[in-house]
């Protein structure tokens, strides 16, 4: 969980990087790597931990051990308030903000500022500030998927938008997309394995993200489990992964339902707003033909219009903050399902090879071939990674939805509070006149 976003759902807002306090520095000192750190001078980006142990980020087998090794430095409480934030040391902070439109002869597109603050020695500098467009995020995601096949990669917001239906350059759309990109990057930076991926490093630091060259900076891509269309059939999926699959199916369904309900509410609210606006104006026009009642009626018209504004705010909030996060989770679920499928694939491959090897062994009395053992290793690592990611995902999901729904409740409470205040001040206005009249009556 990124500490940069204390309250907001998807982004840390438009804060300039200088204002984002790094929790590891007590005073506002420029960041510098610690004394026990080896900085590699050459361009070869071999990731090294603070204690000097080299890290192989590509091999899946080391992922679990890496996870364990990262559990040092627990004495630093990252955020004492929230029990769900992990006690891992946060030493990589990323933010996506400041959208800008670029117009070139070929195309028009939006770039976002990606700011990084870190103490990790995998990075040359403690701070980076680069500009990236959606394509770049997509590139990163693909690279992550390819190089970390056993891990759940967070989803990106929708790539394609129907031109003509959605305005790609409208403030709302850009804002929503930016928040989703920020969330994506934060989730990656938060991940104990993915955050060390050299592609992420490149993404955050390179001035020019030239995606065409197979960058020399890239480390060896590990043995990735490729999507084999057809291929091996899965014999018996372990119960826990079955349960995961079922959960995801039902969960997606429920998310879809909630999305539909929210949209329906927005529609009803919009129609209510239309009628309510006319309602206010009728009071105003009535006021025109009255004398004594002129002020009270105008007062009602004003109050009704204030309530309309409040309702407008509520609806906007729901469509800007609530719905996008909901939809993004649907994408997240899809990613998770993909990873489950890949796991199934690798298990199927293992089982297939094992079967073949056993048959051959019975014939030739040969020892278990190395590939089979490697396959077994792969499956076991995959399972372990998946389980760890699943736990983390569940925990994040709980936190995210708690925040999302609490936010929804808050917005509604806010709406009613505004309306109540408006009506209460109207009563004051109306009753003042009453006491005025009563006083003049007794005189």
């Amino acid at each position: 969980m990124s500490v940069g976003a204390p309250r907001g759902l998807a982004s840390s807002g438009q804060k300039p990087i200088s204002e984002i306090l790094h929790p590891l520095c007590a005073a506002e000192e420029p960041l510098s790597p610690g004394p026990d750190v080896t900085v590699n001078v050459d361009g070869d980006k071999e990731a090294v931990l603070t204690n000097g142990t080299p890290v192989e980020t590509s091999s899946p087998a080391s992922a679990s051990s890496l996870f364990n090794r990262l559990q040092l430095d627990d004495d630093l409480e990252v955020d004492g308030r929230d029990p769900y934030i992990s006690t891992e040391t946060q030493d990589l902070f990323v933010t996506v903000d400041d959208p800008k439109k670029h117009v070139s002869t070929m195309e028009t597109y939006i770039t976002y500022r990606v700011s990084t603050k870190t103490t990790r020695i995998e990075f040359d500098l403690p701070e980076y500030c680069v500009r990236r467009r959606y394509q770049d995020f997509d590139w990163l995601r693909i690279k992550l998927e390819d190089s970390q096949p056993t891990h759940l990669i967070p989803p990106l917001p929708e790539k394609f938008v129907m031109k003509g239906v959605v305005d790609r350059f409208s403030e709302e759309f850009v804002e929503t997309r930016m928040k989703a990109l920020d969330k994506f990057l934060k989730r990656v930076a938060d991940h104990p394995v993915l955050s060390f991926n050299p592609h992420l490093n490149t993404f955050l630091s390179a001035k020019d993200l030239n995606k065409r060259q197979g960058l020399a900076l890239l480390t060896k891509v590990g043995e990735s489990v490729k999507h084999v269309a057809g291929g091996y059939k899965l014999r018996a999926r372990p119960a826990e992964f079955c349960a995961m699959g079922e959960y995801l199916d039902t969960f997606t369904q429920k998310l879809g339902t909630i999305d539909r309900i929210a949209q329906r509410i927005l529609k009803e609210q919009s129609e209510y707003l239309t009628e309510q606006r006319e309602y206010g104006s009728v009071y105003s026009s009535w006021a025109g033909s009255e004398e004594e009642l002129h002020r009270p009626l105008e007062g009602v018209a004003t109050t009704v219009s204030e309530c309309c504004c409040a309702m407008d705010d509520l609806s906007e909030n729901m469509s800007q903050d609530f719905l996008p996060v909901l939809r993004e989770y649907v994408l997240y679920v899809e990613s998770m399902k993909t990873v489950l499928r890949k796991r199934d694939q690798s298990q199927a491959e293992y089982e297939g090879r094992l079967e073949a090897a056993i048959l051959r062994r019975q014939e030739d009395k040969m020892p278990m071939p190395v590939e089979v053992e490697k396959c077994q290793d792969k499956v076991e690592c995959f399972n372990a990674d998946l389980k760890a990611d699943w736990e983390r995902w569940q925990s994040n999901k709980r936190q995210d939805f708690k925040q999302l729904l609490t936010g929804m409740a808050d917005k509604n409470i806010n709406y009613y509070e505004k309306c109540q205040a408006a009506w209460e001040s109207l009563i004051t206005l109306l009753q003042d006149k009453q006491t005025e009249d009563k006083r003049s009556e007794t005189n």
């Binding site: 959960y247 509410i265 209510y272 026009s285 009642l293 708690k402």
Partner: protein
Amino acid sequence: MMADSGSSEVAVIGNTDLTSSESENNTMNTMVEKETALLRRIEISVPEAEKRTGKNTVNMQEIYTVYLIETRPTETVIEGDTSAAPDSLWRRYSEFELLRMYLLVTYPYIVIPPLPEKRAEFVWHKLSADNLDPDFVERRRVGLENFLLRVASHHILADDEIFFRFLTEEKRWKEEVLVTGFQDKADSRLKSLSAMFRVKNPDKQFTELKHYSEELNTAISQLLRVRARVADRLYGVYKVHGNYGRVFSEWSAIENEMGDGLQSAGHHMDTYAASIDDILEEEEHYADQLKEYLFYTDAVRSVCRKHELIQYELEMAVQDLANKKQQKEELTSGTVRIFSLKGMTSKLFGQESQEQRESRLAALQQSIEDGEDAVMEKNKECRVFLQTAWKDIERFKEQKDKDLRDALISYAIMQISMCKKGIQVWSNAKECFNKM
């Protein structure tokens, strides 16, 4: 709301919280009663309504509703003596209509309080338009009570004997009201209509008043119409939230730690969705208050029409007198300036004799004197009408301003109550979400 013995008015809205008892079935009549001789003696209420079956005028079975009118001597109420049984009788809506028609004819210079609507109008979709619907009957009961209290609070109307008998004599009243022959005194619509178009110098104040009552009618009609649409929409918003209840419940089934929080939050969403029914039912009371004044505009226009009629009759009488004087002048001077049959025939058949002429002159003179009397009468009638009617108009205006402002205040209170409920429910839901 019963009038205190001492003060002349009772404050209606004290606090800003609607108690649950007020939201229950027996809707309170929030009208303020003015003290009249009648109300000093008795208290009037319409506490109940009942269904009856019987044969109508064409001998067919019909179901109709009757309303209980109770009158209680004021002393017993003050002393708290509830053992003395009140006088009570049952009346149908049509009898109320008859009473009102009588009042309209008998007191044309007074803005007669209106009856609650005959048929449900300006309904939002969930509200029944059926006259036999219990909610409609209930609101009509309150409206009828309101009507009686308004009449009883009017210092002129309250003294009317027929009105008193309406409250106290169940069987013979109808006979008695018809015996007054008020139906013959009613101005024909044709007469009123023609007066409206032909009157030359209606009183300026009344013209303005007529114009204002038309504007008020338009404004309130529009308001009621839009309000019904707003109610429909609001209903939709609340009800859709009920779907959250179901989906949260289903979702909670697949969750471990989040389950309880989701489930309870779902219940609160159900509560939220259900709350709109009561909210909108309460708002009907506001609509009823507006409707009363919508119908009051008809009563105001009645008074304006009566003025036009009287004014027109005066103008006619004046014109008539002028014609006769003209005729006399011509007869004496011998010139025919205006066309008259007599003049024509004398041209054709020769001049009449001196005797004939003198007798005609005498008849004309008598006619002129009668005409002058008529004009004087009409003038007086007109003046008296203007005076008494305008006095009542002033009274009405004051009443209208006060009542409508009170209505707006109570509407605002309703809205605040609705907001408080909303905050409550969403706060509860938020608590559940926090526990997720």
